[in-house]
């Protein structure tokens, strides 16, 4: 299952490393990363594939949310279908 992860918050050292490590521990593969600083806010979008993970979507979500609070950023993961539905005809 393909999903998009968004990470937003105050920039600091180790955000990408932290998120990537969590995903590796979950067995979730990163397909693409796009990161920038938008109006002083760290903004990262990751396209990921979770087919190889032994964890459920909700478990990955929970783990990422926990990592987000450790790093002081907001991490959300959504199934790709919602983005396709809203932005593709």
């Amino acid at each position: 299952m393909k999903a998009f992860i968004t990470v937003m918050g105050k920039d600091k050292v180790g955000i990408i490393a932290g998120v990537a490590t969590s995903l590796a521990e979950c067995g979730v593969n990163i397909l693409d990363i796009n990161q920038t600083i938008l109006q002083n806010t760290f903004t990262m979008i990751m396209a990921v594939e979770g087919a190889g993970s032994t964890l459920s979507f909700e478990e990955v979500q929970e783990k990422l949310a926990k990592k987000g609070s450790e790093l002081g950023v907001e991490i959300q993961i959504r199934h790709e279908d919602i983005f396709n539905a809203m932005h593709n005809i």
């Binding site: 968004t6 979008i45 909700e58 959504r78 279908d81 919602i82 539905a85 809203m86 932005h87």
Partner: protein, 450 residues
């Protein structure tokens, strides 16, 4: 491929602008639960609801988590109980079974304590109508509706006269709870069979056994989109609303399709309504003000609402394979902070709200009026609203709360999605003779289409 801008837009629409799915409503046919024994019917009703909708809440939460979008309410609508209980006459027993089942499966509301009596009421239906105030008093989750008129049948004024009295009785019976029973009852003209919204949801007899209907929301998203074009002309305003409504509805379509698959139910409809909540940033009134009104309720309000309602439909229709329900902008006073403020400041009156109902869904909704308003005034208010629906071939409705012991200027607090309502002044110039005449107002000439 989705680009970063689109992903951020979706995340912000949900996180900052209150885009949500207002409700996943499962419609269930209960005609196969009918038994001559009231106890048996109630048992079958309870068991069928728990068996079929037992996973509704968990499934809704799972979909909400998967797509990262709040699904605010999960509800069930059922076959009108005036039909299900006709052979036993045990309407109140069935109401208790509905309430018990709703609590067991954890849903927010269950609708369908309803009767369709737009042309005439049978003896059984009259007996059913008499139970509505008590049913809404002894239950918490049960919602009730009565269709009193339709474009094809005209207005059943005998029932309209009766419903005014029922609303007063319901207000009295729940006088210690801000007359809340009235917030769970609605009188309709041209009621629809696939409405996912309460209090008027019921599962029509033309529907399949188990159907998923989804109501989307998103006034905040529309307002935010309009904030970006403060000086654009009205053609551009329409275009922006249409594009936003398209995106909002696509989410509804996705959720409805996913829920239907997961719950092994028929996909029914997506209801395109813009439904406000009392939260700041989730107001239909504020959209109208963003278009250019100082405050909702003044001259221009009806035109702005007509523009909004039409643009929402045009944008949403292409986004869903089946559009239905009420589909339009809702203007419930107690559930919209902009409407509440306009009533408090004196900018918005019942007369203006009545005019607004001619161009939007659905009607005079969640309006608190003085507790001493006579029953015939409420009946006449329903007749006026039904006339607008019948003549304009659209759904209209009245959900008013004659709050017991309260007078104009007071406020009542219902809590949650039902919000809080300032008591509005209403003309009590007597329509008693008109209402007492009874009989029917004939269908309009354009009802004869065949």
């Amino acid at each position: 491929m989705i680009n970063s801008h689109e992903i951020i837009e979706t995340v912000k629409m949900i996180g900052e602008h209150h885009l949500d799915v207002r409700t996943i409503t499962m419609g269930l046919n209960l005609l196969d639960c009918v038994s001559p024994s009231g106890k048996e019917t109630a048992t079958r009703v309870y068991e069928k609801i728990v068996r079929n909708a037992g996973n509704l809440v968990a499934t809704g939460d799972r979909i909400g988590s998967m797509y990262g979008i709040p699904i605010v309410n999960k509800r069930v609508s059922v076959t009108p109980i005036s039909l299900v209980g006709a052979s036993s006459g045990a309407y109140l027993e069935i109401a208790k079974a509905l309430d018990k089942a709703a609590k067991e499966i954890g849903i927010d509301f269950i609708g369908g304590y309803s009767a369709l009596v737009q042309k005439g009421a049978t003896d059984k239906e009259n007996a059913f109508l008499d139970t509505i105030p008590e049913a809404l008093t002894i239950t918490d989750k049960v919602c009730s509706s009565v269709n009193v008129a339709s474009t094809r049948a005209g207005i059943n004024m005998d029932v309209v006269a009766k419903v005014g009295k029922l609303i007063k009785e319901a207000a009295y019976l729940t006088r210690d709870r801000e007359s809340i029973a009235c917030a769970k009852f609605v009188a309709f003209a041209n009621a629809v069979e696939d409405n996912p919204f309460m209090a008027g949801a019921f599962h029509g007899v033309g529907e399949a056994d188990k159907v998923i209907n989804v109501g989307v929301s998103g006034p905040g998203v529309v307002k935010t989109a309009l904030e970006k074009i403060p000086d654009a002309d009205l053609s551009t305003v329409c275009e922006v609303i249409k594009k936003t409504a398209f995106k909002v509805t696509r989410v509804g379509q996705l959720v409805a399709q996913t829920a239907s698959d997961m719950l092994n139910a028929n996909f029914g409809i997506v209801d395109l309504s813009l439904a406000p909540t009392p939260v700041v940033g989730d107001s239909v009134a504020h959209i109208l003000e963003e278009i250019g009104l100082e405050q909702v309720g003044g001259c221009g309000t009806t035109a702005c609402l007509a523009l909004l309602n039409d643009a929402v439909k045009k944008g949403g229709i292409m986004a869903s394979s089946h559009v239905g329900g009420l589909s339009g902008a809702f203007i419930p006073v107690s559930e919209d902070i902009g409407m509440i403020n306009a009533v408090r400041s004196g900018a918005l009156s019942i007369q203006k709200l009545e005019a607004m109902t001619a161009v939007c869904s659905v009607g005079l909704d969640m309006i608190a009026i003085p507790g001493d308003t006579p029953a015939e005034v409420i009946s006449a208010l329903i007749a006026d609203e039904a006339a607008i629906g019948v003549v304009n071939n659209k759904t209209t409705a009245v959900r008013v709360i004659p709050a017991y012991g309260k007078k104009a200027g007071d406020e009542v607090e219902f809590g949650g999605l039902l919000g809080r309502a300032p008591i509005m002044d209403i003309s009590t110039v007597s329509p008693l003779k008109f209402v007492s005449r009874g009989g029917r107002i004939a269908a309009p000439v354009h009802a004869n289409k065949n």
